[in-house]
């Protein structure tokens, strides 16, 4: 398929709802972290989630990615109820998250970090891995070729043999994206990808995010505080406060919504 053809196919499919939460409720003791949260992510779009500290954003991401079970409500992913699915099962469906504080495999190199994300590596069966190299070497080489090409694309290729513990904060965020792409993710949830990253790298990061969304139809949900830096890359926004969605719509409308401003000013 030609690039133009692929793009128009992607364009045609854009806008379908990929992920939906319905009335999610999560209580921690007496605190209601999520109080009936319903959001929708559309295919190939970059959706932003904002809200002051403690508004429930990270809890929502944890529920969507399966790290926390909700007390009520549902998570629907591509038409399937995944509310009770363990995290690694959701990843197999293409729903991948990154962490607020990057969580690389510290003692593994950049290349190893990306290779580990390859799906279905026959060499990950420990009972044959050490016995028969032939059983996995072909797959591994193909995976490495893909990993190098992804690393080139995120700009980490010169660092391929560096241990993750020796990367800067910004490079770690790029590594997380590289891992998610390697995973073959169709939906990527990112918790504060721009936090602690210098503005130039933030723009680089988000231009890669938008190109993934536009060209490959990857869906993004992004939690971010530095909305000034990134608003140009965002298609749709939700604002949360006290465990509830208080505004949604086009980013600039949401940013200027009086309730949103009030929640940030600590009303």
């Amino acid at each position: 398929m030609s690039v133009a053809g692929a793009e128009s196919a992607v364009e045609a499919a854009r806008g379908d709802v990929v992920l939906e939460t319905r009335g999610l409720v999560k209580r921690f003791g007496g605190i209601v972290a999520l109080n009936g949260v319903s959001i929708r992510l559309r295919r190939g779009r970059v959706t932003l989630l904002i809200g002051p500290n403690g508004s429930g954003k990270t809890t929502l991401v944890n529920v969507i990615s399966g790290f926390i079970m909700p007390d009520e409500g549902q998570v629907i992913f591509r038409g399937r109820d995944i509310t009770r699915l363990p995290p690694h099962e959701r990843v197999k469906l293409g729903l991948v998250r990154t962490f607020q504080i990057p969580k690389p495999f510290q003692n593994l190199t950049v290349l190893e970090n990306v290779l580990a994300a390859a799906e279905g590596n026959p060499g990950e069966n420990p009972y044959i891995a050490g016995v028969s190299r032939g059983a996995w070497y072909r797959f591994e080489e193909e995976a490495a070729r893909r990993a190098f090409s992804i690393l080139d694309w995120v700009g980490l290729l010169p660092k391929w043999d560096t241990r993750a513990s020796d990367l800067s904060g910004g490079q770690l965020k790029l590594l997380e994206i590289a891992r998610a792409v390697m995973k073959g993710a169709n939906t990527i949830i990112m918790d504060e990808p721009a936090a602690g990253v210098n503005p130039r790298l933030v723009h680089e990061l988000f231009s890669r995010i938008t190109s993934l969304a536009r060209e490959r139809g990857v869906t993004f949900l992004i939690i971010e505080h530095r909305i000034g830096l990134i608003s140009e890359y965002v298609d749709y926004a939700y604002a949360m406060n006290m465990g509830e969605v208080i505004a949604e719509g086009r980013p600039e409308d949401v940013f200027n919504d009086p309730r949103v401003l009030e929640s940030y000013l600590g009303g």
């Binding site: 990615s65 790290f67 363990p86 995290p87 690694h88 990843v91 197999k92 991948v96 998250r97 990154t98 962490f99 969580k103 690389p104 495999f105 510290q106 003692n107 593994l108 190199t109 290349l111 190893e112 970090n113 290779l115 580990a116 994300a117 799906e119 590596n121 060499g123 990950e124 069966n125 420990p126 009972y127 891995a129 050490g130 016995v131 190299r133 996995w136 070497y137 591994e140 080489e141 490495a144 070729r145 893909r146 990993a147 190098f148 090409s149 992804i150 080139d152 694309w153 290729l157 391929w160 043999d161 891992r179 998610a180 792409v181 995973k183």
Partner: protein, 374 residues
């Protein structure tokens, strides 16, 4: 007077056993981050298989020559162990077939049973972490030791004496030499296997799970399964070390006793010390540490410790020279660990990356990757 040939042979056998045992621990603790303080119980499985099962098999195979039925031989190995096994071993000395059968049987059955016990022990390992898990495994090992010591059908009625092992190398005419060749060959095989395993996608996966379980879950890895597999593989290898030890007349003598094969200092503490010295997760580091500590410390010290205590005049500062001599290897290894951790905190050879693809192939792959963009 020191018999040098004997010292070398004993030291080599010792190093070989400890390499296997430490490499086994390294799969669990170094590579996967499971703090197995109960490592001795998996080693003990090897001893039990040799003393009980391989002993019974050997006895049944030679029963005809002793004028007893196979069933009788099976019972007598435990019921009148010392006297009956002495008879069995006399016949085994002329029965290479039965001897080799007993060796092969132990080599296959012990890892299977060790792996099974590792699989059982992995269930708490799925729910517990860190020090809780470490203490749980330590306690399991001790509980199993007590059980085996007093449940006589397993290791006989006297925990400190144990069962006479089948003398499976007597037919060679040089049992001590050949049993040393056997353990060294086994250790080399395990080393090659560990190198291959480490430099495979599985080696990388184990290390990834150790570094960050959440992150591993987040890229779709079944962390519970990885921890279970590490327990099974590490424990199976530990049982193999137990077999190599129990068949070796230099190290085990002619019998295996529950009290000794479950010894938490010998089979849990020492492998931990060697692994930390060599480098957690580093197979070559573990190998080097075993050789260095084995060759420099254990052998010479066991022989010269009393002379050294005398020469140092420790009694002048109120220490009994005998006590000092007995504690010397621990003192020296303790000092060595402190020094290594101070100057090389990641061990003598720090953990390398898992090289699944030869380095020479990498530049070509990068070139190819650049041509075809993602």
């Amino acid at each position: 007077m020191v018999n040098l040939a004997l010292l070398v042979e004993q030291t080599v056998a010792f190093i070989a056993i400890y390499y296997i045992l430490t490499a086994a621990l390294n799969v669990k603790a170094g590579m996967t981050g499971i703090p197995d303080f109960g490592h001795a119980m998996f080693f003990a499985v090897g001893g039990i298989v040799v003393g009980n099962l391989a002993g019974r098999l050997a006895a049944m195979l030679v029963a005809g020559q002793l004028g007893v039925s196979a069933g009788e031989a099976f019972r007598k190995v435990i019921e009148s162990n010392t006297a009956f096994m002495a008879e069995v071993n006399k016949v085994l000395a002329h029965s290479p077939g039965a001897s080799i059968a007993a060796i092969l049987f132990a080599l296959i059955v012990a890892p299977v049973l060790g792996g099974l016990l590792g699989w059982l022990a992995s269930y708490p390992a799925l729910r517990l972490r860190g020090d809780y898990l470490a203490i749980m495994l330590l306690a399991s090992s001790e509980a199993l030791r007590i059980f085996v010591m007093y449940y006589t059908p397993i290791m006989g009625a006297t925990p400190t004496v144990g069962l006479t092992t089948p003398a499976v190398f007597d037919w060679t005419g040089h049992p001590t030499e050949w049993s040393t060749v056997f353990v060294v060959a086994l250790a080399l095989l395990v080393f090659v296997y560990m190198e291959r395993f480490y430099n495979s996608p599985s080696g990388r996966l184990f290390r990834a799970v150790r570094d960050d379980e959440d992150s591993a879950e987040a890229i779709g890895k079944d962390v519970a399964k990885v921890r279970r597999d590490a327990m099974i593989i590490g424990s199976a290898l530990a049982a193999l070390a137990g077999v190599a030890y129990s068949f070796n007349p230099w190290l085990a003598g002619s019998s295996v006793a529950a009290q000794r094969i479950f010894d938490r200092v010998l089979w849990t503490f020492w492998p931990w010390a060697l692994m930390i010295l060599g480098g957690m997760s580093s197979n070559r580091g573990v190998g080097l540490a075993t050789v260095v500590v084995g060759a420099l410390l254990i052998g010479p010290i066991r022989i010269y410790k009393n002379d050294l205590a005398k020469a140092l005049h420790v009694e002048a500062i109120g220490i009994d020279p005998g006590n000092f001599a007995n504690a010397l290897e621990y003192i020296l290894v303790g000092a060595l660990i402190l020094a290594v951790l101070f100057f090389k905190p990641k061990g003598i050879i720090p953990e390398p990356p898992s090289r699944t693809i030869p380095r020479s192939r990498i530049p070509e792959l990068i070139e190819e990757a650049r041509r075809e963009q993602p």
